[in-house]
């Protein structure tokens, strides 16, 4: 009985000690552009997580790469990945016919980045591709083809009427 109590105590103590340790390796808070911009002073200098779709232009510069990650309707954040941070291969970037890779980054958020002359940005310390991009459908609507044909036909008629020489040159 005494042995059982001792074992139980050790187990409970072990859990209590290990739990906070594992908590400190939990992911930094996943924030949106809106949250970061609205509460820029609060998050300034903190390590955060950010997730977004890679927009069209990955800009490779001398000292690192700039990515613009879109995380919602008209919200996107600039993420700087310095040369000494491992950058995975980004296979898809957004354009009309492609859905870009969704990337998860953790890094330090800057309200006014000194290195980048006052920019609001995140300097990534880790970059992972969460979801691979894909081809976008953008289907052609058949009814619009019909509309085009009808309108073009009418237009042709009106243009013919407009440009033809009047039979008896009557113009009021």
């Amino acid at each position: 009985m005494k042995k059982l109590c001792a074992v139980l105590t050790i187990v409970v103590l072990a859990v209590l000690i290990v739990a906070p340790v594992s908590a400190s390796v939990v992911q930094p808070p996943l924030l949106s552009t809106t949250e970061l911009v609205e509460n820029s002073y609060k998050w300034d200098g903190k390590t955060v997580s950010f997730k977004g779709e890679v927009l069209q232009d990955l800009m490779v510069r001398k000292d690192g790469t700039w990515m613009n990650l879109s995380d919602g309707n008209n919200t996107a954040m600039g993420v700087f990945v310095s040369k000494d941070v491992a950058m995975p291969v980004i296979s898809h970037v957004e354009d009309y016919r492609t859905v870009g890779d969704v990337v998860l980054i953790t890094g330090v958020f800057h309200r006014v980045c000194v290195q980048h002359e006052g920019e609001t940005d995140i300097h990534a310390v880790s970059v992972t591709v969460l979801t691979l991009g894909s081809t976008k459908a953008n289907p052609i609507h058949l009814d619009r083809v019909v509309w085009f044909a009808v309108l073009a036909g009418l237009l042709g008629l009106v243009m013919w009427l407009y440009y033809r020489k009047p039979a008896r040159g009557t113009e009021r």
Binding site: T34, V37, E38, S40, L55, Q56, D57, L58, M59, V60, R61, T65, W66, N68, S70, N73, N74, T75, A76, G78, F80, E94, D95, Y96, R97, R111, V112, V114, H116, E117, G118, E119, T120, D121, N138, P139, I140, H141, R144, V145, W147, F148, L151, A152, L154, L155, V158, M159, L161, Y162, E171, R172
Partner: protein, 507 residues
């Protein structure tokens, strides 16, 4: 005595509006081609449908109203205001077809914003639109800016309003051609040369910053058109922040500063009269008000400790301020950052800069530097008159292309228009406040719309009240056309109703 409206008046207006509409339809071929080049088939089809519809409306109007009569001044004003509305509606069709506008009204808001070179937008998910639609948005501002300059200068030639004797070359050195067509050609030539230079320069900068060559020159074209027209659109929702490039921002700044200059000034400077740039009342006024409002902005930002060093203060602070003063509307900070970090004084200084605006006969908006200069000199002259002996003759002068006398009528014309601008700014602010927006925000956004700037502090959203959308659209329209055209249009409509009743009674 306002004259009666006859059927021929409708024909003239209809015919020329039809011609403008045909022009808009042909313009749509450019974004359609862009979409074809990028293999955006669905988008290309949307534009094809829009082209067909617009040309159909244009040709039908022109056919039905065909006339040989030449338009008078009244007609021209009504055509200007009226065709603006027709263009706004038809240009919105590609937006609606793309699925990125929540409503047709939202699409019209965006096209009104484009043509008036404002730059506010209600477009949803801007980061995922086609290259074709992006080309269309930016092209709208370029054409809108050019169109209005041609219009402005056309009216200014014939106008006897003292403040605007810009083009009258009564026995002066400048060989200013009084021919309207010639002026239009000159304006287009200067703008097209800058378009070429600007696209190449900005394209090269974009390439140097890591954008692929075949895309870089599209970015160059978009940013140039946005800057030169002082429109303020950018291909992505982050606006200039997308590029993370101070070179891009400085180049754009140069182009939008130049775009905010009076085209008569461009013409003078490009014809050998380079000294004009230092003597011109608008440039002097602009320089003074820019540096003053910027100093206020610096004061505000330093007091709040927003930026850590001079470079950041300059890059963010000056870009925002000069973008506002030239009524461009490009930005390298988030809209909400501006509101929350700059604070009331920073916002007010920017609001004042926007309200004053750019030069007359330019792509910019606001009171215009010419009027600021005239009013300030008018006040100075009045003070001098008071201080001088009663029998002394005191006359004020201002230099705009040549020395002009500051007559009472000149000062009055300037003051009247300034009052009208203040009126729309205030009315827009009141409507905003009535919907619960804080005063600084409501005033800022209203001035931004009325001065055709386009900087936003977050008020402009698809979810904003419908009436507020309409109010801003009216502000953009009236501000761009400087009231006269719009009033003439309304007057024309009212008079035509009266004329119809008179004719009915006579029958």
């Amino acid at each position: 005595m306002i004259r009666r409206v006859w059927r021929e008046d409708f024909r003239i207006i209809g015919y020329y509006t039809g011609l403008v509409t045909i022009g808009v339809g042909l313009l749509m071929l450019i974004p359609m081609t862009t979409s074809l080049v990028f293999r955006e088939w669905a988008s290309a089809l949307d534009f094809a449908v829009s082209v067909a519809l617009t040309l159909l409306v244009g040709y039908t109007l022109a056919l039905v109203c065909r006339t040989k009569s030449t338009p008078g001044l009244t007609h021209a004003m009504v055509i200007a205001a009226g065709s603006w509305l027709v263009a706004m509606v038809l240009s919105g069709v590609p937006y609606v077809l793309s699925g990125h506008s929540e409503s047709f009204l939202d699409a019209c808001f965006d096209t009104m914003s484009g043509y008036t070179t404002t730059g506010m937008f209600l477009l949803q998910d801007l980061d995922h639109i086609s290259q074709g639609l992006n080309m269309w948005r930016h092209l709208l501002t370029y054409v809108g800016g050019q169109g209005i300059v041609v219009l402005a200068l056309t009216f200014l030639i014939g106008s006897t309003g003292g403040a605007f004797k810009i083009m009258v070359g009564e026995g002066k050195e400048e060989k200013l051609e009084p021919n309207v067509r010639h002026i239009a050609v000159l304006i287009w030539r200067i703008s097209l040369i800058y378009l070429g230079v600007g696209t190449v320069v900005l394209g090269l900068i974009a390439m140097a910053n890591g954008i692929k060559p075949y895309l870089a020159f599209f970015h160059g074209a978009y940013i140039f058109m946005s800057a030169w027209s002082t429109g303020g659109f950018a291909p992505y929702s982050q606006n200039m922040l997308y590029y993370h490039s101070s070179t891009m921002e400085i180049a754009s700044m140069v182009f939008f500063i130049l775009g905010s200059f009076n085209f008569a000034l461009h013409y003078a400077v490009w014809s050998g009269n380079r000294r004009e740039i230092l003597r011109n009342v608008e440039i002097v006024s602009f320089t003074i008000t820019v540096l003053t409002t910027f100093s206020l902005v610096c004061l505000a930002l330093m007091q709040r400790g927003v930026y850590p060093n001079a470079v950041a203060l300059f890059r963010r602070g000056f870009f925002q301020l000069i973008s506002g003063h030239t009524t461009t509307g490009q930005s390298n900070i988030y809209a909400r950052t501006f509101v929350r970090e700059w604070g009331p004084l920073g916002m007010l200084a920017t609001t004042i800069a926007m309200a004053i605006g750019a030069s007359a006969a330019s792509t910019g908006g606001g009171f215009k530097g010419l009027r600021m200069g005239i009013i300030v000199k008018g006040i100075a002259t009045d003070i001098r008159k008071l201080l001088s002996p009663e029998r002394a003759v005191v006359t004020g002068h201002y230099h705009h292309l040549h020395d002009n006398t500051l007559t009472d009528s000149v000062v009055k014309s300037a003051a009247v228009i300034v009052v009208l601008y203040v009126l729309i700014y205030v009315v827009g602010a009141i409507v905003g406040m009535a919907y619960g927006y804080p005063m600084a925000d409501a005033l800022f956004e209203s001035v931004s719309a009325g001065s055709n700037t386009g900087l936003s502090c977050g008020v402009t959203q698809a979810s904003m009240p419908t009436l507020l959308k309409i109010v801003y659209m009216l502000e953009m329209w009236m501000g761009r056309l400087e009231f006269l055209s719009v009033f003439t249009l309304f007057g024309f409509i009212a008079t035509s109703f009266r004329s119809m009743r008179v004719r009915k009674a006579a029958v």
